[in-house]
């Protein structure tokens, strides 16, 4: 019951945070001078196409771009009615993309769940790699296992994501015949789900997952190693060994369980940088996630599209952080349920 209350409390703070973030994003989106439509109007006027001007003026009215900024914000979120009643993010109307001349929801469509998929895969990769390697590096500390994993970890932290992506793509294609570009075979795009499509997506996921997850896995591994080393020096470990417990069993049964908590808590710290990484890597590798959409939207000042994508990215990180917080409380009964007072 307590855990439910904590989850609800945590959800409430997340919603509040999201509200603040929406204001922040709206301000950032509107920082560039002018907007897509006024640029278009200026361009059309200079080339003397009056028909287009009328259309652009109509769109400006339609999406309330002629009102003051604070009203635009409230309409965008859906707190006050726009020209057509309440239709903002809250009501599920994501707005209109001026450059593509289609609703935002239609453009992002598939990209949303593919983004979630890529990020989930990366988180899974981080756990899958960091857990055994971190434990191994701690158990065999100051041997070649430890040193070589530390070396790989440092290299993973220092190599820019997008370069790693290019290199791996090239060699993956050349020596292991991994597919290049995109998240699925072009022939599956827009097709309904099938086993073949799933297989194609999984194959395409290998390189992006590796690239996005590497730096996170390296950081996580080093922290797990440090935590494990702290635990291994404690008297209860000595007691367990003295009583004749086998080292492997002892390792998994006691120190790992204690060292595991920061492991879960960390995903909250790691997630923002991983989502960042996935945006960058998606652009470089041409994955059909929201990364490339965001980049073009920002370059063309397509404000509703860019705003929605930024909101979605923020929501993704906030949700992930919330889930990790709730999981942590489930795992570690020592943590208090109330908000922590500093």
């Amino acid at each position: 019951m307590l855990i439910l209350r904590y989850a609800i409390y945590r959800f409430g703070t997340m919603l509040l945070t999201l509200l603040v973030v929406s204001a922040l994003i709206f301000v950032i989106i509107n920082l560039p001078p002018g907007d897509f439509l006024s640029n278009q109007i200026a361009e059309l006027k200079s080339t003397g196409q009056s028909a287009g001007v009328a259309k652009a003026e109509f769109l400006r009215k339609e999406y309330a771009l002629d009102r003051p900024l604070w009203q635009q914000y409230l309409i965008w979120v859906g707190f006050i009615p726009g020209p057509h009643g309440f239709s903002g993010l809250i009501q599920g109307d994501f707005g209109w993309s001026f450059s593509a001349e289609r609703p935002v929801a239609e453009i992002v469509g598939d990209a949303l769940w593919l983004t979630v998929l890529v990020n989930l895969a990366a988180v899974g990769f981080v756990y899958l790699v960091a857990l055994p390697l971190g434990v191994l590096a701690a158990a065999r500390s100051r041997t070649w296992v430890d040193y070589s994993s530390a070396f790989v970890g440092y290299l993973g932290l220092a190599t820019p994501n997008f370069l790693l992506a290019l290199i791996l793509f090239y060699y993956g294609h050349r020596y292991m015949n991994l597919p290049i570009g995109g998240l699925m075979d072009p022939s599956f795009e827009g097709q309904p789900m099938s086993w073949e499509k799933v297989r194609s997506i999984l194959l395409h996921l290998i390189v992006p997952t590796f690239v996005i997850g590497t730096s996170g896995a390296a950081a996580m591994m080093q922290r797990l190693r440090a935590n494990m080393l702290d635990e291994l020096g404690k008297p209860y470990v000595e007691t367990a060994i003295a009583k004749g417990m086998s080292p492997q069993r002892m390792l998994v049964k006691y120190p790992l369980r204690v060292a595991f908590n920061p492991f879960v808590a960390d995903i909250g710290n790691l997630l923002p940088s991983m989502v960042s990484g996935s945006v960058l890597v998606s652009v470089v590798l041409g994955l059909q996630t929201i990364g490339p959409i965001l980049l073009t939207a920002l370059k063309t000042q397509d404000q509703f599209l860019a705003g929605f994508v930024l909101m979605f990215v923020a929501l993704l990180t906030l949700l992930g952080t919330m889930i990790s917080d709730v999981l942590l409380v489930l795992l570690d009964p020592r943590i208090r349920y109330e908000g922590r007072e500093a």
Partner: protein, 384 residues
């Protein structure tokens, strides 16, 4: 000094086997903190080497134009995508000093590429402290002296040339000027903001603390890169390279301060209860003075270490932004801008040297990481 019956000399002073040890220890205890930190840091081999390397890199920056044989945007239209040239010392078994061979190019009509081959018949000696195209030394003194250059009609492209026939080696040196200073400016911005908000929140507490703390939490929970992208998309495209450079580094710093502010705040929360703080307050010191004179000096070293660890993130950030075309733009030369040319995988496969700017990035980022680790480890000199 006494002479023993068997002729040996013996010192009269009483012998204390631990005297040497104690002397060192006493000196240790009396030495100022920076001496102790330095002494411990010296034992951290990797950190020390990285530190010296970084120092040399930064000292090199004003003289990049001198070391580079060409200027950043000097074009050789005959030598597009020319492969790296080696500097030889011996020519056909005889020593002629540092020289290069001229590159001859001929079109390959099956692959439609220019093929470059060194013409090894005649060595062309490099000249040193020679006159080349003019540049501004340290941005101030106009000069045309270069450390080394090739004779007329011959090129010296140590790391090849790019698609416009510009020397990669020279461009990497010029690029370092922007790529390495972006991190410094960014960290300054982040430092000022972080220390200000962190100390205000930690020292005053209460509702100010609550507000600042929420802001920190919100900013920390957001992915950086999309926000960087959005902010740099807002930079007007008609601004000059210098203005864009400054605004980009400020953008990098603006999103970095929350982490620093958080650690400053945590430290202040515990330090403000100390007696010396109370004493200073009793004697009528203003909050500003207590923060600046009594609290901050306590952990500047700690702050420096954490700054060293966050500079690489900024260097990588600038690279990523420029790579995506939203950071620094073309007449400016930075490693990210150079890598922007290496976006095409096919290009990189044929002309592998266009991807060379990634090497300095990796090396510099690694060096900053090692230096930061070393500093962090040696900051507590009394701990073994």
């Amino acid at each position: 000094m006494t002479v023993l019956p068997d002729g040996r000399y013996v010192d009269d002073a009483p012998f204390d086997p631990h005297a040497g040890l104690q002397a060192v220890e006493r000196k240790d205890l009396d030495a100022p903190a920076h001496v102790l930190v330095w002494r411990k840091f010296k034992t951290h081999r990797l950190g020390l080497i990285s530190g010296i390397f970084l120092l040399l890199c930064y000292l090199m920056l004003p003289f990049a134009g001198f070391i580079a044989p060409y200027t950043a945007n000097e074009r050789f239209s005959e030598n597009l995508y020319s492969p790296p040239q080696a500097i030889h010392l011996w020519h056909e078994g005889t020593f002629v000093g540092p020289h290069v061979y001229a590159m001859t190019s001929e079109p390959n009509l099956t692959t439609f590429q220019w093929e470059f081959k060194p013409d090894t018949s005649t060595p062309h000696r490099l000249s040193f402290f020679c006159k080349g195209s003019s540049y501004k030394l340290a941005g101030l003194v106009e000069t045309d002296r270069h450390l080394f250059c090739a004779p007329d009609g011959v090129t010296v492209f140590l790391w090849g040339s790019d698609r416009l026939g510009r020397d990669m080696f020279s461009r990497i040196l010029y690029g370092a000027q922007l790529s390495l200073t972006v991190g410094l400016i960014g960290i300054t911005v982040s430092f000022v903001l972080g220390i200000f908000f962190g100390s205000v929140a930690g020292y005053f507490g209460g509702s100010i603390d609550w507000v600042i703390n929420r802001v920190i939490e919100i900013l920390r929970s957001l992915p950086e890169l999309p926000l960087w992208l959005a902010l740099s998309a807002a930079v007007p495209s008609n601004w000059g390279p210098v203005a864009v450079f400054f605004i980009i580094s400020i953008i990098l710093g603006i999103l970095d301060w929350p982490g620093l502010a958080r650690s400053v705040r945590a430290k202040f929360l515990s330090l403000r209860e100390e007696e010396y703080v109370r004493a200073a307050e009793m004697m009528g010191a203003t909050p500003g003075r207590v923060i600046r004179r009594h609290l901050l000096p306590n952990f500047t070293s700690h702050l420096i270490a954490s700054a060293t660890l966050s500079i690489p993130a900024m260097i990588l950030g600038e690279t990523a932004l420029s790579y995506l075309g939203l950071g620094l733009r073309a007449p400016a030369v930075s490693w990210g801008v150079m890598l922007n040319d290496a976006q095409n995988l096919v290009n990189v496969e044929i002309y592998w040297w266009t991807a060379l700017p990634m090497l300095p990035i990796i090396v510099i980022v690694l060096a900053f990481n090692f230096l930061g680790d070393g500093l962090r480890d040696s900051l507590d000199p009394y701990e073994q």
